[in-house]
Amino acid sequence: MALKVENLTVYYQTLRGDVHALEHATFQIADGEIMGLAGESGCGKTTLGHSLIVLFPPMKYIGGQVWLDNEELPIWDSERMNAYRFHKVSLIPQYAMNAMNPIRKIGKMIQELLESRKVDYKEVLPELKRRLDLVALPHDVLQMYPIELSGGMKQRMVMVISSLLNPSLLIADEITSALDVATQKAVAEMLVEFRDRQFVKSMIVITHDISILYQVADSILIMYAGVLAEKAPTQSIIESPRHPYTRLLISSLPEVGVRFADKRLSGIPGNPPLLLDPPIGCRFRDRCPLAFERCLEEPPFIEVAKDHYVACWREFENHA
């Protein structure tokens, strides 16, 4: 088991109180698994990703544990986490396109980055060049400034940098959202290639675009309003989702070949609850067409079929 997360709870501190951005997250990722993490904006998916590597204020660690390769990560202790960052856990941030230092040549920037993690640049350089070849970037980019690269090239460059030390876990946060379809496809396929070549043991791919996850992920975790709603192998999530939220979310996606004149799709009525004072019970209750009295209690996140976890009382009833 590459990654095991248990009961992870992280809040945001604000002047008006704590925002319950992530509560009781419990899941596992196998070696070599690419897990997609999807949900609407504000559902806590980025919070979950970041809490595994950069838990800084205003984020506040409340409880829970994280093991990576059977070793507990001290995610609440920023100093001690330094030993793991980049070496074992690495992140491609959401705005990776602007993540590089604009006033350093890229090679120089990588050198400084490696030195700060006590790695010798010269030793890594041959491998760095091999990986540049792999993502079809010329070696000259090391002598260039970030501004000289196009959006897709920057994205590939950041991917190479983030995975350079072969981390056990790579967290890719919305890395395809700002790209054109063709570049998007190239970048997504590269993620799979990095896994296949074992540069990265396992991956969390955070995105709001489920159709991208269908192409690259082995499993998908759906979040709603700070809690886990459903996790299952990709095929099951797309073809037989069990949580009402997942069902509504998937049915609201327009596909090539669907037009409003033939088949009018509908969104999900209502808005997600405010997490400053989250409702009791199931957080999807207000928008859920299937809600009943039991939903006033918080549903646990249970395995209802092999590798298929869901948090919904209706679903448990069907199985009881």
Binding site: G152, T183, Q184, I210, S211, Y214, S252, P254, V256, G267
Partner: protein
């Protein structure tokens, strides 16, 4: 009703404006009343530039844009104001369309003062509420709030409501749903579909093909400022002919089909482009002639035009349905 004739836009770039960037080249198309036309292209294809020229936010370098037969470039003062009563735009990022230090409904007040000074406050309030209802918002929930208190979907619908308060006939919708969540995105699309059925014409600018197909009657594919294919939406989406359109269709992530492996060609660095087909550098089926000759848009079928040598009258066309089998040339880009 809105018509572009050989419209080009040249930007002056470089320190002293010494270099020219041809953002839009000889683009012609027409949008009829009650029609949704999708303008599709990747970043840098000139799609937003076209939208801005229609809204008179940019000047046309060459060619002519006419609205109901009148050249829009000569409008000024009262005639321009009248044009804006009928033609409005909504843009990608709803958050940057508002001034964060004022309440969001200020956009309605400005409209009141500028376009309807004769209306009383209560009458205006009534109209605003009607417009908000028609975009699916409850005025009690959204009025009197600051932009940060509203969600992206609400702000975007606010902007559409603002456009509806005018006597709007034509809407330029520039990537209006790319920043919205999947669950609210479809509501905004359905709203556009309803407005269309009431006779509104929409130029729907996007890079997302599945959204474009959902709503549009006709589609235009732009590449480097050139129209490479245009026509009825079903034809463009079901039998894409231009190699670029085929590549786009193949790259769209879908829930019913996985990507073909290894068919993507990475982008190359933009090189100085002289004559020839704009897609030559990336085209998997390019011929020698394509380097020097730029084919015009030719009609291959009723309401389906393509600019590619393979579909010129004398050429043997590629099989339109075989695009999934078409292998993309694997070159070393850059």
């Amino acid at each position: 009703m809105l018509r572009l004739d050989n419209v080009s836009k040249v930007y002056r770039i470089g320190a002293f404006g010494g270099k020219a960037l041809h953002a839009v080249n000889n683009v012609s198309f027409e949008v009829q009343k009650g029609e949704v036309v999708a303008l599709i292209g990747e970043s840098g294809s000139g799609k937003s530039t076209i939208g801005k020229m229609i809204l008179r936010l940019l000047e046309v370098t060459e060619g002519k844009i006419t609205y109901n037969g009148e050249d829009i470039s000569v409008f000024k003062g009262e005639t321009l104001k009248n044009y804006y009563r009928q033609v409005q735009g909504v843009f990608q990022d709803p958050f940057s369309s508002y001034n964060p230090i004022f309440k969001a409904d200020r956009i309605f007040e400005v409209l009141h003062e500028e376009f309807f000074p004769g209306l009383s406050a209560t009458e205006w309030q009534h109209r605003v509420e009607n417009a908000l209802f028609s975009v699916g918002l409850n005025p009690a929930h959204v009025l009197n709030k600051y932009p940060h208190q509203l969600s992206g979907g609400q702000l975007q619908r606010f902007l559409i409501a603002r456009a509806l308060l005018l006597d709007i006939q034509f809407l330029v919708a520039d990537e209006i749903i790319s920043m919205l969540d999947a669950s609210t995105r479809i509501d905004v699309l359905n709203l556009l579909a309803d407005l269309k059925s009431r006779g509104l014409s929409i130029l729907f600018i996007t890079h997302d093909l599945s959204l474009a197909y959902y709503i549009s009657d006709r589609a235009i594919i732009l590449y480097k400022g050139y129209v490479v294919e245009r026509g009825a939406a079903e034809k463009i989406f079901h039998t894409p002919l231009h190699p670029y359109t085929r590549m786009l269709m193949e790259s769209v992530p879908r829930l019913d089909r996985k990507w073909e492996k290894g068919t993507t060609l990475l982008e190359r660095q933009a090189e100085a482009f002289q004559g020839g087909c704009p897609y030559y550098e990336r085209c998997p089926v390019a011929e020698k002639i394509c380097a020097a000759y730029r084919p015009p848009l030719a009609e291959v079928d009723a309401d389906h035009l393509v600019a590619c040598v393979h579909y010129e009258p004398s050429a043997t066309p590629l099989n339109p349905l075989a695009y999934t089998e078409q292998r993309t040339r694997q070159g070393n880009p850059g």
